[in-house]
Symmetry: C2
Subunit: 282 residues, 2 copies
């Protein structure tokens, strides 16, 4: 019997946008996620499915409300899924103390240090539990799963796809944290969640993973040049350099006048969905 | 010198989404509004401009964040404007007591009863002050202004266009309150803002205005059939009936499976922009 509760359903672009809650074994607590399922005549076939990982402070609602992705997903027949960005209400001291660490800031890794390690297991949650749940209960085609995200979630998309290459057929990112080992957000999160061993940091750093020989499907990355986090936190030039040196195909598009927010994502979301759909039909 | 402050600007679909604050003479306090201006080569010409009136509890942010209208506005070259839904922080006792009256619920009329009449002057704010400000400072073409809205804002779009037919070239609505004299939201708002004189209520009721001989440009109205407010509050069948009896062109589209929220609006917003653009080029 399904343990997934449906919190709400909304007609959208001929399909259904829905919100769900389930008891997560990996997290040890309830987790919420959102799903957009386009209309289709054929109910027998498994569906190509994109998982979107959101950024700091966001929830499972941010992407469906702000990104405007449902139009093109309906056109292309893609299911869209957005998990929350961390466990919630963990009761861990300090988990609400900052906007860039703890609740709303899971960084898509399994924490190794106490007290975080008991609950902050977003890597296993996404690649094991949520992925399997989508296959079992939301008709996701395990051979046509894509992963993308924004900022912290762009970091998540890159690193989870690099660490689990067999799982994802297509990858893209908006303004990702490309080299968390070299920026303040990453220092804070990795130091607290992983500790101080540089080898552990490298295992969750997209640039380092590419340098170590890991590969991705041909990558699409969009970055706004009016993004206030660009210089200090994001470092797309390091991703570009790592990809160039490793022979990893990467289209990095820089956009004048666009900032870090969802008006930027909204403007280029359709290109990302087309990118994923193309790779899934290859 | 302009008294309009720019709170933020965001690149969006090749244009700019911005948020503004100004000291409103009509309201007697600061008011905020949002503007999307598409990119264009020609800076000399005045622009066709659509004013969107949002529903209960919304602000000037709701439409630009949730409706996904910028894509089609960029394509059609339309400026989009969304004012807040009421004066804010008025200090009037009871203005925060309910979600369907007072702050966030101005009903796009000039209140006649104290204490509301001093500040709740959304009709004059929209049709006089904001309209003139858009012409003076945001390149709005006074001969190509359109008006649309959602729920309470659909009521606002219909009634302001009916009461000021010379001002608006095109009108449409999502799930409007069609006959506020005959629903609980309208009873509460009209009773408190206007008093108990039925003639005053009729002057702000779209169905009554059409019945009295007022006319609109050919009207487009979308209504979801899974809208939980449909039966008690919205009464589109009364609008349909009033238009049919009066010979007022009205395309009322009913959509199975769609509710009262922005996933519904998002799904049909492009049709509305095309509707306005067509009427503006006639």
């Amino acid at each position: 019997m399904s343990t997934v509760a449906t919190l709400s359903e909304h007609g959208c672009w001929g399909g259904v946008q829905s919100f769900h809650r389930h008891d997560s074994a990996e997290i040890g607590a309830p987790m919420q996620f959102s799903v957009f399922r386009p209309a289709r005549a054929d109910t027998a076939r498994k569906r190509p499915t994109l998982i979107y990982l959101a950024g700091l402070t966001c929830t499972e609602e941010t992407f469906p409300i702000k990104a405007g992705a449902q139009r093109m997903a309906a056109e292309l027949g893609l299911t869209l899924v957005a998990p929350d960005t961390s466990p919630r209400q963990t009761g861990i001291e300090g988990a609400d103390a900052a906007w860039d660490f703890g609740h709303g800031a899971g960084f898509y890794l399994d924490a190794l240090r106490t007290p975080w390690s008991a609950r902050f297991r977003m890597e296993s949650y996404v690649v094991r539990e949520l992925r399997q749940l989508l296959i079992d209960e939301f008709d996701a085609d395990p051979t046509r799963l894509g992963l993308f995200g924004h900022s912290m979630g762009g970091h998540g998309a890159l690193t989870l796809a690099l660490r689990h290459p067999e799982m994802f057929r297509s990858v893209s990112a908006f303004a990702p944290i490309c080299a968390p080992s070299q920026c303040p957000w990453g220092h804070k999160a990795f130091g607290n969640y992983l500790g101080e061993d540089p080898a552990l940091w490298r295992a969750h750093d997209a640039c380092e993973l590419i340098r170590s020989g890991r590969r991705l499907p041909p990558l699409l990355v969009d970055q706004g040049l009016a993004d206030k986090f660009l210089a200090e936190q994001l470092h797309p030039h390091l991703l570009e350099q790592a990809c160039a040196e490793a022979g990893q195909p990467c289209q990095l598009r820089r956009h004048e006048g666009y900032d870090h927010g969802y008006y930027f994502i909204h403007s280029f979301i359709a290109d990302h969905l087309v990118h994923h759909a193309r790779l899934m039909t290859l």
